[in-house]
């Protein structure tokens, strides 16, 4: 049963992460080309630092850090008069009301929260990559377009939203679709984030089962499970390629690019 659910988990995660990461990326790219210097630094630092780190190394400590950060913030809000230290030696203790999720919450709440943290972590990592793509795409919109907008008397904000943003997508799409492919293939790392994903179950179910502990004993079947996963991923990639190609054709319609001309 867990195996089937984990497919759903992975698909749902992809469906939620992709738009969230895009949002992060949009924010990062906008920040990176802002006029306000600290904001620009922030945007550029976000893009280059997160892109520079291997995603596994990031996943291994980031989820716990994120969790502690949330709880710390909630601690400041809910328990202003808390007398005890938060860090007692190695222990991280916030007041019970600040715990996320609350200590007595049901198991599914914990799982949803873990899932949410995983989505957020993925979104932050892939947000940096998509920020990079969107930044490039914003730069790729011909300058003449922006100059024309200014000539028509649009403000900077108007020109940004009405001219730049609608046009940048066609430049961004190839990069974003590649990113989507990478995102699909990063999902086996989910088990690092405490989400029981396909790979977790493939290992679990495929591992040697002994007659003492299971009604269906079998040897090391991981190979077959992993081959199954391989086919799943190949099919998913192929499907994505097909859909993205259709999308690209739609988007380049009426645009002065090679894609449209060809």
């Amino acid at each position: 049963m867990g195996l089937y659910w984990s497919f759903v988990t992975v698909l749902v995660l992809l469906a939620i992460t992709a738009p969230t990461a895009l949002l992060f990326g949009f924010g990062g790219a906008t920040a990176a080309r802002a006029n306000f210097l600290p904001l620009r630094w922030f945007g550029k630092a976000y893009i280059s630092v997160v892109r520079g780190v291997p995603d596994i190394a990031f996943f291994l400590f980031f989820v716990i850090a994120l969790d502690q950060m949330f709880e710390l913030v909630r601690h400041q809000i809910f328990c202003p008069g808390w007398a005890e230290e938060i860090w007692q030696g190695n222990d991280f203790r916030v007041c019970p009301e600040a715990k996320l999720p609350l200590g007595n919450a049901a198991q599914w709440v914990h799982e949803v929260y873990g899932f949410f943290l995983a989505v957020l972590t993925f979104a932050i990592v892939f947000g940096a990559f998509s920020a990079n793509v969107l930044y490039g795409a914003m730069m790729a919109v011909p300058r003449g377009q922006m100059e024309t907008a200014e000539a028509y008397g649009m403000t900077r904000a108007q020109a940004f939203w009405r001219v730049l943003v609608p046009q940048m997508w066609v430049y961004a799409l190839p990069g974003l679709s590649n990113l989507w492919m990478i995102l699909i293939k990063a999902t086996p790392l989910l088990f690092l984030l405490g989400v029981e994903d396909i790979v977790y179950w493939a290992r679990e179910l495929g591992g040697t089962k002994q007659a003492r502990f299971s009604d269906y004993p079998h040897g090391d079947w991981r190979l077959w499970y992993f081959l199954g996963l391989l086919i799943f991923y190949l099919a998913f990639t192929k499907l994505s390629e097909f859909v993205l190609e259709r999308l690209m054709r739609r988007l380049s319609h009426g645009q002065a690019t090679i894609g449209a001309a060809a």
Binding site: G2, D67, N90, G103, L192, R203, S214
Partner: protein, 241 residues
Amino acid sequence: MKHLILTAAAVALSAGLAHAGSHSVVRMGTEGAYPPWNFINDAGEVDGFERELGDELCARAELNCEWVTNEWDSIIPNLVSGNYDTIIAGMSITDERDEVIDFTQNYTLPDPSAYLAMSMDVDVMGGAVIAAQTNTIQAAFIAEKGWTLVEFATPEETIAAVKNGEADAVLADKSYLAPFADEDPDLMFLEQEELIGGGVGMGIRESDGELKDKFDMAIQSMKDDGSLNALITKWEIGETF
């Protein structure tokens, strides 16, 4: 807004439960990949010696317990960070670990580590290749002896390594290896055994003295009336108290 109301309700709820101790639900963290200690059964639930033991301990301590699984690698950081309240995962009591977390009294005697190999002729001392799971006391033991160590990420892979000839023998807890030796005619125990590490106990945050006391008392009562020994025998964990 909805969120705020929910939270407020939860605060009121937990305030009401405050006199029942700070833990209305005790979350038990385990690995779920180490039969017979803990594993995932056909129904996808945590099962094994520690599942049964933990449920009994919780009943005796009048605690409401829930089971969660976590990767072995990050099982301690997640405990101190408060994502669950106990570790009950066949964790040997060692000095290193004791510096960071607290242990209850041991609920098993030290389990000897045994070598599982394809032939009785493997000479452990004389340059044989020994497999172990990464970051276990067995891996540290082999490294310290200066023998040829090869590490794998999961216990499953260490057994596979012996079967396919990558390693001459695997060193692990005897209770973990025993079912493999029983069911697979190719695999057998070497005579040599190693006593590494103390018994196994439950890991609990150092700041959680109250919870530790409750579990200590529950373990003691199970030791006293012999029910712990019965469980150890049932799951073939090792010697009884």
